[in-house]
């Protein structure tokens, strides 16, 4: 009798502890872990039927699973032992801090350009299986390094419902409307068919499944079954038989991620929130951070256009890719932003205001309008952002 409720209570206590004060380094989810309410942070996106709920719960455990070396952890390089390792702030599935950033490298002739990939690819992983000597280091001629923050997975299932046409309809590559903002979709060749990239800091991935495959290999070092789309490795150099990620487990994890609710609004009743929301629109933030896009299941309130923009000063140095040149990044969705400090692709902005003031080039008009606001107006705008 007693044990029946002691267990869930202490689990709850552990969850609270984890959510508020401690990095979540070990598995935190088991079959008894409460499922947050529909629509809450870390909860399902809609009412699930019993079979779906079971799959969602299984998928959450896969997301939380600490992979062992004997199960194929590493290529042998790793950035994480589990998905949760990085996606945990403020709940499992969300974002991560500066110490779970991924490091990329390249060569841009000390800023003179052009950007070139160096041997070894762009990623220098943070760690490696301890049974393999050394560390994956950048090519010694690398002269440019870029960190990438952990993006939140919350709501990505809903972004997956946005059609390519919907994204393309917001393009304005020649700035015909004259607002300074261009906006171009990232086109990815998938087995001969061009698809719009919607995920990743440079929109380098078209679908949620591609995104999870890419991260399963790139961060955790797991091999996958072939789905013909080119994301994730099918084999690696360790001795564990491929695919290391059991296909059924991957399907469960994909279902869980597809049905993670988007981060709900904070619900701050302060009337200044609405004032800030209006300013957000008036000074032009909403041109790129468009409050809502159309998905096949209804509106997607993501505050992004999913297009690439250059918001950096001319002397900005960073990674370049085919279809996403140096300086171009996807407009990051702002839903959930109150919980995902630090900001920008590499986390260089500690506060929301730091992030706003870093907007240049395509966003320089908006940044200067922000700068010209009164202190009260700025406060209202930050209050609004802090409610997202």
């Amino acid at each position: 009798m007693k044990n029946q409720y002691f267990l869930p209570l202490s689990l709850f206590a552990f969850l609270v502890l984890g959510l508020t004060i401690t990095a979540l380094n070990a598995e935190i989810i088991d079959d008894d872990t409460p499922v947050p309410p529909v629509g809450a942070l870390g909860g399902p996106d809609r009412e699930l039927d019993p079979a779906e709920l079971e799959q969602w719960i299984r998928g959450r455990r896969v997301f939380d699973r600490d992979w062992r070396q004997s199960e194929g952890l590493g290529t042998p390089d790793i950035n994480a032992d589990s998905c949760r390792s990085c996606h945990q702030k403020p709940v499992i599935g969300a974002a991560g801090g500066l110490d779970t950033n991924v490091t990329r490298f390249g060569f841009d002739n000390f800023g003179a350009g052009p950007f070139e990939d160096l041997p070894g690819g762009q990623v220098a992983s943070k760690g490696r299986r301890p049974d393999t000597p050394g560390r994956e280091d950048a090519d010694p001629t690398a002269d440019i390094f870029e960190q990438r923050q952990t993006p939140s997975v919350l709501g990505l299932g809903l972004i997956d419902t946005i059609s390519d046409l919907e994204v393309l309809s917001h393009e304005d590559p020649n700035d015909i409307d004259g607002n300074g903002c261009r906006g171009v979709a990232r086109m990815i060749d998938i087995a001969g068919v061009m698809e719009v990239g919607k995920f990743g800091w440079k929109s380098q991935v078209p679908t949620l499944s591609d995104f999870l495959r890419d991260a399963s290999t790139g961060e955790v070092g797991l091999t996958l079954v072939d789905d013909g789309r080119g994301f994730g490795l099918l084999s690696d150099s360790d001795s564990v038989p491929d695919p290391e990620f059991p296909p059924d487990d991957f399907v469960d994890m994909l279902f869980y991620c597809a049905h993670l609710a988007y981060p709900p609004r904070g619900g701050n009743p302060d009337p200044q929130v609405a004032v800030g929301e209006q300013l957000f629109d008036e000074i032009g933030c909403s041109i790129c951070h468009i409050p809502s896009m159309e998905g096949t299941d209804g509106p997607v309130p993501l505050y992004s256009d999913l297009l690439l923009h250059d918001i950096h000063p001319d002397d900005f140095r960073g990674m370049g890719e085919d279809g996403a040149a140096v300086g171009f990044y996807r407009t990051p969705p702002l839903w959930g932003i109150r919980d995902t400090a630090p900001y920008l692709h590499d986390g260089r902005a500690t506060t929301l205001e730091d992030a706003i003031l870093a907007h240049e080039d395509e966003a320089s008009i908006m940044m200067r309008e922000y700068f010209a606001l009164t202190a009260e107006e700025k406060e209202a705008l930050i209050l609004f952002l802090s409610d997202l």
């Binding site: 709850f12 206590a13 609270v16 390792s85 490696r128 301890p130 050394g134 560390r135």
Partner: protein, 491 residues
């Protein structure tokens, strides 16, 4: 059912806003009535309650004193206790006789109860020290920003980034491993030359926008060897007690020349003046504050000033932790040093000094059989069950000495001072400090770099002086092997 509903309500509140304050909502487990946490409810507990109510003794867990669970600490609690103990009165309210949370809402607190919870304080602290411990426990999770001094190089933004499995002060999985990069041959190794790093700890990150520090190529360091090796975060639970073990107690178990010919040496790491190392996988430090100040700077780029300094040294010696007893640490970011106040860092030191060892598990018949096998296999020759300290026995299952673990585990790193021994004039790269086994179940992966997925893997990776015990383990039947593991899981 009711409980489940209240959980979800709390969870919603917690998830949907900032209503989750640490501490207050945390349902810390305790045993009602057992005020002195000795596992039984007796007159000494009633005296403890009265001493708190009338003499101001520190209360780690007010809930444990609230015997009648009315949410108030008063003489009635002592009366109910005495009635139960001597007059067949009613028993204390639940949880009584077992660990559990308080199920009724009140304003009483329970800040620490180490017999039921991991990561709480050892008993007997005064009010000021206990308050410092509680603050330090919170600060372990403080995430430093660049504006507060994080960097210029770092592996982590908070202490609990690497010390959180399963509680603040614990360990971490492999992805939190860090690298050493040492230049030179074992015995005279130093950090890489560029950038100017404080130690051989290799940072995974520079602040955003800066190059990641690279390992040197031997050609860049005068063709000296470059050693790259990983470390898994060591758990902190109970380590403060190692500082309370005398040099002579550790020395007494040493056998640097293997003069008894049992194949097990046991060498001590020393500063050359008889002061012995205690902390780190190579026993490279024996002063906890300096060790913590080193880690703070090496892992987070957070500079500190001394808190206790040499005035707090229990037994003076410190090797290769890149923080002197009495000198501030400094770095060359633009943030003024020290980047954490002496008081805040002192709270972290106090937390680490008085963090209790993990509570023991149940010793049933299987575990007792496993213990017998543990002794038969002579694991206890290095993992000796107990050392004496000025605070009583320290049942950590270690001798805090260095042992040769064979070529497979040798890591190319020597962190130590000259040895008074015929075996080698310095510590060798295959020597490791006997890892404490208390709480060993709690912090996999195992071994210095986390290469062992399981405790059994870890046993089977013992070579050198541990080879005979490893072979003895392998010769056991599967059932016997499981008994050994069961025993280890109870530590």
């Amino acid at each position: 059912m009711k409980i489940h509903i209240s959980i979800s309500i709390l969870l919603v509140l917690c998830l949907s806003g900032s209503l989750c304050f640490s501490g207050n909502l945390l349902a810390r487990d305790f045993e009602r009535g057992d005020v002195n946490e000795d596992g039984s409810f007796d007159i000494s507990d009633a005296i403890g309650m009265l001493n708190h109510m009338f003499l101001g003794d520190v209360a780690y867990c007010q809930d444990a004193m609230d015997v009648n669970d009315d949410g108030i600490l008063n003489i009635a609690d002592a009366i109910v206790s005495i009635n139960y103990l001597f007059l067949n009165g009613d028993a204390p309210e639940s949880p009584f006789g077992l660990c559990g949370p308080d199920l009724t809402k009140d304003n009483l607190t329970c800040e620490s109860y180490s017999q039921c919870n991991l990561g709480d304080a050892i008993l007997g602290l005064d009010l000021e020290t206990f308050a410092s411990f509680v603050r330090g426990r919170e600060l372990m999770s403080k995430e430093f920003t660049p504006e507060e001094g994080l960097g210029p190089f770092y592996n982590a933004t908070s202490c609990t980034a690497c010390h959180s499995t399963p509680v603040p002060g614990g360990s971490a999985p492999i992805y939190r491993n860090f690298f050493f990069a040492a230049v030179g041959v074992p015995g005279s190794q130093g950090p890489i030359w560029d950038p100017e790093l404080p130690s051989i700890v290799m940072p995974a990150y520079a602040l955003p926008g800066n190059p990641r520090p690279a390992f040197p190529d031997p050609s860049q360091v005068g063709n000296q060897p470059v050693t790259i090796v990983q470390r898994n975060a060591p758990p902190q639970l109970g380590v403060g007690l190692f500082e309370r073990i005398s040099n002579s107690e550790i020395f007494g178990n040493s056998d640097p020349d293997d003069s008894d010919g049992d194949g097990i040496s046991g060498r001590f790491n020393t500063d050359g003046s008889g002061n012995l190392g205690r902390f780190g996988f190579k026993a490279q430090a024996n002063f906890l504050e300096a060790f913590l100040r080193g880690a703070s700077n090496n892992q987070m780029g957070i500079t500190t000033d001394p808190f206790l300094g040499s005035g707090g040294i229990v037994s003076a010696a410190m090797m290769q932790v890149s923080a002197g007893f009495d000198e501030p640490t400094i770095d060359d970011d633009l943030i003024q040093d020290p980047e954490i106040s002496v008081q805040d860092f002192g709270d972290i030191v106090i937390f680490s000094m008085f963090l209790a060892p993990p509570p023991k598990g149940e010793m049933g018949p299987d575990e007792q059989d496993g213990e017998t096998l543990f002794f038969q296999m002579e694991c206890n020759k290095c993992h000796i069950p107990s050392l004496q300290s000025d605070l009583g026995p320290v049942e950590a299952y270690t001798d805090l000495l260095l042992h040769d673990m064979g070529p497979e585990l040798a890591d190319g790193i020597s962190m130590g001072m000259p040895q008074f021994s015929t075996i080698s004039a310095s510590t060798t790269d295959s020597e490791f400090r006997t890892q404490p086994l208390w709480g060993v179940r709690l912090h996999g992966p195992w071994l210095h770099d986390g290469r062992a997925d399981s405790m059994e893997d870890a046993i089977l990776m013992h070579g050198g002086e541990g080879q005979a015990s490893r072979d003895a383990y392998q010769a056991l039947t599967p059932t016997q092997q499981q008994l050994v593991i069961s025993f280890l899981e109870a530590l």
